[in-house]
Amino acid sequence: MPPTITAVNDFVVKFANVNGSGSASANELFARSILRMGVPVSPRNIFPSNIQGLPTWYEVRVTEKGYLGRRGGVDLMVAMNPQTWAQDVKEIEPGGYLFYDSTKPLPSSAFREDVNVIGVPLTAICNATYTDARQRQLFKNIIYVGALSVLLDIDAKEIERLFGEQYKGKEKLLDSNVKALNLGRDWATQHLDPGAVKLKVRRADNVGNRIFVEGNNAAALGAVYGGATVCAWYPITPSSSLAEAFANHCKRLRHDKGTGKAKYAIVQAEDELASIGMVIGAAWNGARAFTATSGPGISLMTEFIGLAYFAEVPAVIVNVQRGGPSTGMPTRTQQSDLLSCAYASNGDTKHVLLFPEDPKECFEFTAEALDLADRLQTPIFVMTDLDIGMNHRLCQPFQWDEKRAFDRGKVMTAEDLEAGKTFGRYLDVDGDGIPFRTYPGTHPTKGSFFTRGTTKDEYARYSEQGPVYVRNMERLQRKFATAAKIAPQPQRYSSPKATRYGVIYFGSTSPAMDEALDHLEADGNHVNALRVRSFPFSQVVEDFIHEHDRVFVIEQNRDGQLRSMLMNEFTLDARKLVPVLHYDGTPITARFIAADIAKKLGQLKVVPFDKAAS
């Protein structure tokens, strides 16, 4: 028997459940109660593409230091699913713990020598207390939370307070939940050694005023704050909850007080072709519009995206990425749509991508995307993923400047036209590549134009002349250069020691990277880091690459898509960018990043760079 794992505020608990058994809210309750004790947690849903009956997991990383990436490994497994028992038991770290329903005796072969076993007869307790089958199932989850709270020293008062908030005004539900919780607590207190589990939660003050929210919810709120009035969408995991959250926010925040009427329109379209078409139609007509989707939806939208690029119509597309290609791994996370979004559609097209790292940036970037779409008159992609979108993540509170007004970009009004300002729909008046537009219906005689995906001159007149086409394409390039300046700029983190090595990362890799940087630094592997926050890349990105001999590019896809884009956009020696790739559908971990970089650094140090490069 290896030494029993002992840890305070730094361990991983994993719940193995059956989909649709009501475990999700109990597991979330467990995570929140620890948060309320001032200890950061980072929970993750691991679920199948199924509604009922299949295995589902909920992993909670308890982390006083606030490392919110997935850690890897499991210290305590709450094994509630007989179907996945063997796999779950195998996953426990040596010296870890197995918590299970001991109502039915299991042969010793079902267990592991090097794992501490805690049995609680959950079914028996339920059957003795409840007669209703549904109650038996639901309260079993609360009972195990009760037992765990005793074993891990979680303050029961915090759980009761959470019940109080959840069931405000529903006293009966409140009472029955508290009762179930105490059933579990009492049994554990009476039957278990308080030292049976040496993983403990101790009150701390490391949560501060941070909020605990899912990225999809945050992005939806960003769309409300950013002034989106039209949302068209088609259900697809993991993006559906974004559109649903937008509807919920709008119900509370966007109804006219006097009339009760809606200051928004949400349409569940017949498919993604229609949802992007509606967004383009609405934005063409002067409303702010967005859609939320995932990879397969992007594939369907591409012809329209090219139209919006070439006809210069704003559009905001939140892509909550999942594992591809095709239906791929619909309920797992990846960052694998970079290329398909950056260069979506036929012909020479390029698009603006934003890479939020957490829900806070999902909120900010979605609001920002609505401004950028209007300013740049082009589609803007907010590239989140399942890991950020569908998991609660601790992040800084949302902020909004009282004085901030929507930036509608270059729009010519009836007054401008009346005053005799020259209007050329595709005329670059000041060198930034962005022309003025008019909304339909602006002026009785001036400012109307025809929008089309075919070539046109500066005054929106149809043309098939080569030079006219080339002029327009060059202007679009200037506009793209403008985008690189006004989109969110990269963030740089410098190692305390000078180093020839750098890492580039983006999006949901952020928390794992933060932690990996600490590990690397502690091991004497010094690296500077750059978090890319948008495409087209800022000059800062190229400078960073040139300042280092080797740059590791960390991505959650197979093909090194960001690396390909860096190679494509800058003139670089391919050997300079070293891919670090994780793409099995689970969120990338600090352990993986640090180990892979350390390994590659080791190889690099054996062969001096000059020789390796020659």
């Binding site: 009339t259 009427k261 349409v267 139609g281 139209l307 902020q399 339909p440 089309r452 007149r461 149809y462």
Partner: protein, 351 residues
């Protein structure tokens, strides 16, 4: 093909309508379609309808897909914004545009390839949603712009210019529209402007999803013997169920109708549709009867035309969504952004 600007010289004798515009003001660029193409006659009918309705030209938003027919919006109401979208997907763009500003007049123009072949899905859904618009399919049974392949409205057994018979069943757009929930459905012929202009006017006054299937012969690829979309065939087989007189609410009713010869339908906007009976009894507000009559026409090879179905009190998409009276595209930061205090409350609820 190049853009040809039309000389803007106004003949003094051109009469102004109540909005102060002449018929010329509703025209667009010079058409680049084939001489004799049915689509040009439909554009002319749209121009006439807009002129007679005293519409402010810039209050029209014209949308189309891709095809010869979808080029037509360039050729009418030049003072309005137009959007040539992508092939078969105009309905979604028009839906979005309509959501953004409920106050403009939406004119969607499409072809049979655009709406029945590649775009059948979007066609169905825009009708279901009751978007307040006029949707015209310039129906020639072929893909004009890609040189004469059969479209999905080509009748089974009709012969292509190259002599090949169409083996596939045809899609009847009128039946589709009624079935999908359009609340104003008519069929006409590009060669019959007396029937077509009042239908367009009534469709434009209709506050819901109005659809017109207008048979519009393609002189280049589908006007030969054996075609069921040729000028000759349509003239011979046209079975008009009624003649429509469109009377705006504010106009005085002057025409006399002998008792029993006309049906009156008052639309929600106050406009009046007088349907002069042509032979048989036909009640266009009876949806089931309309579907039956249209199917009978299809079975017997008649081209049944006229106002085929109307629900005079439709509920449009905006009504279903309960949107505010002001167009969504006029709402400003103050109307839409809940501000920092509300955000603080939201933050507090997430701790």
């Amino acid at each position: 093909m190049t853009f040809i600007a039309k000389p803007r010289l106004h003949h003094p004798s051109l009469v102004k309508n109540k909005a102060g515009f002449t018929r010329r003001d509703y025209e667009g660029a010079v058409s680049t379609l084939c001489a004799g193409c049915g689509h040009d006659s439909i554009s002319a009918a749209i121009i006439q309808a807009c002129y007679e309705l005293d519409i402010l030209p810039h209050q029209v938003a014209k949308l189309s897909g891709i095809g010869c027919s979808s080029k037509a919006p360039t050729y009418f109401v030049g003072a309005s914004h137009g959007f040539n979208t992508v092939h078969g997907r105009m309905p979604s763009v028009m839906t979005g545009a309509n959501l953004a500003n409920k106050n403009l007049i939406y004119m969607g123009v499409s072809g049979d390839g655009d709406s029945a072949s590649i775009g059948l899905g979007q066609f169905a859904h825009i009708m279901r949603r009751g978007v307040n618009m006029t949707y015209i399919v310039m129906n020639n049974g072929v893909y004009g712009l890609t040189k004469g392949q059969f479209s999905a409205t080509a009748d089974k057994g009709s012969i292509s210019k190259k002599g090949v018979a169409n083996a596939d069943a045809s899609i009847d757009m009128v039946s589709m529209a009624i079935l999908m929930g359009a609340t104003f459905v008519g069929r006409s012929f590009s060669g019959d402007k007396h029937q077509l202009v009042p239908l367009i006017k009534a469709a434009m006054a209709h506050k819901g999803a109005a659809f017109l299937d207008v048979i519009s012969p393609c002189v280049a690829f589908n006007n030969h013997a054996g075609s069921t979309k040729s000028y000759e065939y349509v003239r011979e087989h046209n079975e008009a169920l009624n003649r429509l007189d469109f009377i705006e609410g504010r106009e005085e009713i002057t025409a006399d109708y002998a008792p029993g010869t006309a049906t009156t339908v008052r639309q929600h906007d106050g406009s009046i549709l007088r349907l002069r009976k042509l032979g048989e009894e036909y009640d266009p507000s009876d949806k089931i009867a309309a579907m039956k009559r249209v199917q009978e026409g299809l079975a017997s090879g008649e081209v049944v035309t006229g106002l085929l179905y109307v629900d005079p009190s439709p509920v449009d998409l905006h009504a279903n969504l309960n949107t505010v009276d002001a167009p969504l595209n006029t709402l400003q930061t103050g109307d839409l952004c809940p501000g920092p205090q509300a955000l603080e409350r939201i933050n507090a609820s997430l701790r």
